[in-house]
């Protein structure tokens, strides 16, 4: 039991094994993402009662909050796999770190856009220089910097290593985003959902939110499998196992 997990992880680090693994996992992850997404959106938009103060406008949290969590989660994933890539020089870790960046940037962008859509009727402004909003914007710039640095190099692996280093430097921003509502008492509201304690939210509103959280997690997994798989094919182009796949595709 204790031996096969590290062995399996080592095997997974090899590009052909990962490619096959990603191809198997992707449809399942995508299916689960769609399933939880539909359930969560139905629960959130139809079943959950309107808020006593905000009416129906609060329902944007079912997109906003899971995206915001994912923007931090994906950055942490990128930072950790970037660290693994730099320390152990595993090619797959570089691929995972670099292919996570556009997904995370998209989640951050969605968070900012939905937040400002909600902010207009509720706070009376699209944007304010509140600590949470500013640190989330900085997170978006960090993602863009990582993507930009990765593409500035001609050698892709070298670019991936440099961008991983930048991602590790920028990881300091993730706790700042998370704790910004506790450290600075400005406009954005504080923590409502608490994983290990009492959440200040009724169950009818909480369960669709959790379903959406699962949906975004599975979507990330599916998207990462697709992107990393494609990237590995491009990186390993010319090797035997890629040629076999290409010939099998051409034969169909």
């Amino acid at each position: 039991m204790s031996k096969w997990i590290p062995l399996w992880l080592h095997k997974l680090g090899s590009p052909p094994t990962f490619y096959r693994f990603a191809r198997t996992v992707r449809p399942w992850a995508m299916g689960l993402a769609l399933l939880f997404g539909v359930i969560g959106l139905y629960g959130g938009l139809v079943l959950a009662p309107p808020d006593y103060q905000q009416g129906d406008a609060y329902r944007i949290i079912f997109i906003h909050v899971p995206s915001a969590w994912m923007s931090m989660f994906v950055y942490a994933m990128m930072g950790v796999s970037g660290f693994v890539a730099l320390v152990w020089r595993i090619k797959l870790a570089e691929v995972v770190a670099m292919e996570s960046a556009p997904i995370g940037a998209a989640f951050t962008f969605i968070t900012l856009v939905t937040g400002s859509l909600w902010g207009k009727p509720m706070w009376g402004t699209w944007w304010t220089w509140d600590a949470r909003l500013t640190s989330e914007l900085v997170l978006l710039f960090l993602y863009l910097g990582v993507i930009g640095l990765y593409h500035a190099f001609e050698d892709r692996r070298q670019g991936a290593r440099a961008a991983s280093f930048l991602a590790i430097i920028g990881i300091i921003n993730v706790p700042i985003v998370h704790y910004s509502v506790d450290w600075w008492n400005t406009l954005h509201q504080g923590t409502t959902v608490n994983l290990f304690g009492h959440s200040k939210m009724p169950w009818e509103m909480l369960w669709p939110l959790l379903a959406m959280t699962l949906a975004t997690k599975f979507y990330y997994a599916a998207s990462l499998c697709r992107r990393a798989g494609t990237d590995i094919l491009a990186l390993e182009g010319g090797k035997d196992w890629v040629r076999e796949i290409a010939q099998a595709e051409a034969g169909r």
């Binding site: 910097g145 070298q158 440099a162 280093f165 430097i169 920028g170």
Partner: protein, 227 residues
Amino acid sequence: MSAPLPQACAAMLRRDLTLAWRRRGDLAMPVLYAVIVAVLFPFALGPDLALLQRIAGGVVLVTVLLAMLLALDGMFASDIEDGSLEQLVLAPQPLALMLGMKILAHWITTALPLLVIAPLLAGMLHLPLPAMPALLLALLLATPLLSLLGAVLVALTAGTRRSGMLLALMLLPLCVPVVIFAAGAVAAAQEGLPWFAPVAWLSAALVLAVVLSPLACAAALRIALDA
């Protein structure tokens, strides 16, 4: 037989300062740029005294930051071109220490002239006199911080050809807290409040950066040059 560390550091510093002095014209560029940007503000916003007084501190800070960003690009450029940076990587002396000296030389050649010109810019924008020490102290702490943070990013882009805009994009997230605390000190001084706390934060960040940033810079350079 390698030179002892203090001598090697002094030689590095002397070399970079001499090189900068031989091309004095380049040293004036960031200063000119800062003057131009600061002069444009009254034209764009109108010469309303109260408005200029209120924004003077922030405008000078951002102007100095942009001028430093302009000069940052060239920190390692000529050394990469003629291969002396690779020799530095191979040298027996610790790379982080040598890079620290290079950063110091860069700060002396770009940030010090800006620090000299900053009171003039602030005066042109009618910054109230009591806020001037706060602005200068904030700049004195913020500019080395920016040099140190920027050096890591410049080292990361060392292997690329087009890096100007990319550098700005990468530096922005890192310099946001620096600007916030520096501007906070000036704003507090302008309102007659105690401005020690933001300056203490800046000092703490500077101490941290002085220790960590040359190490990070060395690591980044090894990644970027490792082709």
